[in-house]
Symmetry: C2
Subunit: 352 residues, 2 copies
C-alpha cells in the first residue's frame, strides 16, 4: 500500500532539484522545495506540487526573476515593506515572515507587506510560521486572477483574496483559518467540470445574477463572494491591505497568471505576527484556547453531523497522516511530474 | 419638514445630560454622548441612541462601573492591553484608539486590546478614528450575546463578532467595511418580526439545519454565518483575537447583556492602526484608493442594478445628509426617550 505514497522528504528533494535545474540558486530552490512540499503535506493540494509546471512555464517564459534582490524599501520598528524584485513568492514571504517575527519580538506585534512578489502557495503556510515562536500569524494576499465583480457589477475586478490566521493552542491542534473570500475557490469549479458534475446553487452566478450550475459554463459567470456584499467588501479590504497599501497590483492591474506568463504580476501580500507573551502568560493563553476548542467540539450536534471540526483541524490530521504514511498524488499528476522530470533530466518521483 | 428632525448637537447634548444624570462624570458623559450621537449620525441606528435605555437599565442595576480606572496592564512599543474596569465600552475604546494612534506613529502599526470593557456601539466608529491621522483603522469585537453554534452544532457558543476596517481615500469617501460575521444581524430579524414579514432563506436555520423563515420562531434556530463554515471560522478567529487573547470572555463565558443587567460582561475588543506614511507617500496611496474606487464604481452593471456601492459609501452619504438636515428618529423611540427624559428630570428631545 505504501508503494504509491510519496514521502515528504522525497517530494521536497524532487521539487528542490527541479527548481535548481530551472535556474534557481540552490539556497532558494531549497526554500521553495520545502514550502511547496509542506503545502502538499498539509493537504493544500491546489497549491502544492501541482503548481510546479505552471511555475516552470513562467520561469522559462522569463516572467520570474531567478536572481531577485529582495529588499526592505520602507521600515519602522513594527513594520517593513519588501520589494520582492519579481522573485518567487515563497522566497519573498519566507523573508517577510522572518522579519515580522523578529520585529514582533520587540514591538509585541509587527506587519510586513510586499510588492513585486508572486504567487506563494497556500495562505496558511505563512500564517503558521509565527506559531513556532509562540505568536499568532495573519496573512492576506491579492489573488493572481480576478474572478469576481464588485457587488451588482459585471466587470471582474476582484480576486478570491484569501485571509489566513493561525492561533497556537496548548494540547489541542492550533486553530488555523485559511479561506478565500468567495463561497468556492475557482479550483473547486474546475474539479466539478472534470468530474462532469453540477455545482450547488450559491457557488456562481451568471451575468443576469441567476444561479449558474453548470461548471462547463463557468466562463459565463462569476464566483459568489461569501455573504453576498459582505464578501465583496472583505475581498476589497484584503486587496487594499495586501495590494494597494504596498504599491502592488489591485483591480484591473491584477495579471491573470493562468493566461499570461511574462507580465510582471506585482503581487502584494502581507504578514502579521502577534507575540503572545506581550499580552500575558503564554501558557494561560494556550490553556484558554484549549478550553474554548474543547467547548466548541463538545457542542450538541445537528442530526447527521458526526463531529464538530475546528478550523484547521482536518488539515492538521492530514498533515500527521501524510508525515507518517506519505502522500498520495493523483496518478495523472504523478505522470505529468515524471514526464517533466525526464525533460529536465532528473530522477522522477516514481523512480526514486 | 425640519421640525421633526433632530440635530447632531441636540442629540449629543441630550445623551450627555442623560448620562450625567445617570451618574457618569461629566467628561465621560461627554465622550459617550458624542460617540452615541455619531453612531446615529452615520446611520448605525441599531447602535445609536436606541441603546440609551438598555445602558441606563444596566447602570441602574449596578452592572457598569461609573468610576472605572481604565489602565494599561500590558505594554510593548507596538501594543497595549487595557483593563476597562467594567466601564462604558465607549470610554475604553476611545482610549484604546488614542493609544493605538500614538503607538502607530512610532512603530508604523499598533494594536490595542481590551478586557473588562463593555458594548461600545458600532464597530466602524472605532475603525474610523485612525483615519483623521492618515492611518488605516481595524476593529474586532466579541459580540454581547451568542447567536450561533459551531458549524454543525446546536449550542450557541459564538456571537456575531464584527470586523470593521476603515481605509482613507483622497477625493472619494473612505472605504469603510463594518460587518457581522453572520448573514443577517440579529436586529434585522427582530425588525422583520415587528413588521410581520418572513425572512429570506439563508438568514437563519432551525435545529435540524433547515431554513427558518418565520422571525417569530427565531428562538428555535440560529443565525447563519456568512459562507457557512467560513463565517463560523471567521467569528471564532475574531473572538480569539478580541476576546481570548485579551483574557476577555469567549464561548460560554459571554454574558447575554439583553437578559442579564448585572453580571460583569468582560467584553473584549481590539483596535489596530496602520500609519500610511510608514509605507510611503500618503498622497500617492490616497490617489491609488481613489483610482480603485472609481474603477469599481464604473463597472458594467447587472440588469436592474442602478449603482455600484463601495463599502461605507451609503453610510457616508447618510452622515452628510444627517449633518445637514438633522436625523429622523422613529416616533416610538422619540416617545420612549422623552418619557425617559421626564423620569430623569431633564429636557426631552422634542421639547428642546
Amino acid at each position: 500500500m505504501t508503494e504509491n505514497r510519496i514521502k515528504f522528504e522525497q517530494l521536497r528533494q524532487f521539487i528542490t532539484v527541479a527548481m535548481t535545474r530551472l535556474g534557481l540558486p540552490e539556497t532558494d530552490a531549497t526554500i521553495v522545495g520545502r514550502l511547496m512540499a509542506e503545502a502538499e503535506l498539509q493537504g493544500s493540494d491546489g497549491h502544492g506540487v501541482i503548481r510546479l509546471l505552471p511555475y516552470a512555464r513562467r520561469i522559462r517564459a522569463g516572467g520570474l526573476n531567478l536572481r531577485p534582490n529582495i529588499k526592505i524599501i520602507q521600515e519602522r520598528p513594527g513594520m517593513a515593506l519588501l520589494d520582492g524584485d519579481n522573485g518567487m513568492g515563497h522566497l519573498v514571504m519566507q523573508r517577510a515572515a522572518e522579519i515580522a517575527i523578529e520585529k514582533a519580538r520587540n514591538c509585541g506585534i509587527a506587519w510586513v507587506g510586499s510588492q513585486f512578489s508572486n504567487h506563494a502557495g497556500p495562505a496558511s503556510l505563512y500564517a503558521r510560521m509565527p506559531m513556532a515562536q509562540d505568536m499568532i500569524g495573519l496573512y492576506f494576499a491579492v489573488g493572481n486572477a480576478n474572478h469576481l465583480p464588485p457587488w451588482g457589477g459585471l466587470d471582474m475586478l476582484l480576486s478570491t483574496n484569501p485571509i489566513a490566521v493561525a492561533v497556537p493552542a496548548g494540547e489541542e491542534p492550533p486553530v488555523v483559518l485559511d479561506m478565500a473570500t468567495t463561497v468556492a475557490a475557482y479550483g473547486k469549479v474546475k474539479a466539478k467540470a472534470q468530474r462532469g458534475e453540477m455545482m450547488p446553487a450559491g457557488w456562481m452566478i451568471d451575468r443576469l445574477g441567476q444561479p449558474l450550475l453548470d461548471p462547463k459554463r463557468a466562463d459565463e459567470g462569476f464566483l459568489m463572494p461569501i455573504g453576498g456584499y459582505k464578501g465583496y467588501g472583505l475581498s476589497l479590504i484584503v486587496g487594499l491591505l495586501a495590494g494597494t497599501l504596498n504599491g502592488a497590483a489591485m483591480g484591473s492591474q491584477v495579471v491573470d497568471f493562468n493566461h499570461d506568463d511574462t507580465t510582471v504580476t506585482n503581487t502584494g501580500q502581507a504578514i502579521m505576527a502577534i507575540d503572545l507573551s506581550a499580552f500575558g502568560d503564554v501558557a494561560s493563553f494556550k490553556a484558554r484556547v484549549d478550553q474554548l476548542v474543547r467547548e466548541l467540539r463538545a457542542s450538541e450536534r445537528m442530526p447527521g453531523v458526526e463531529r464538530i471540526w475546528l478550523p484547521g483541524e482536518q488539515s492538521h490530521e492530514k498533515r500527521q497522516n501524510n508525515e507518517r504514511d506519505g502522500m498520495v498524488l493523483p496518478p495523472v499528476l504523478l505522470q505529468q511530474l515524471d514526464t517533466f522530470a525526464l525533460e529536465l533530466g532528473i530522477p522522477g518521483l516514481q523512480s526514486t
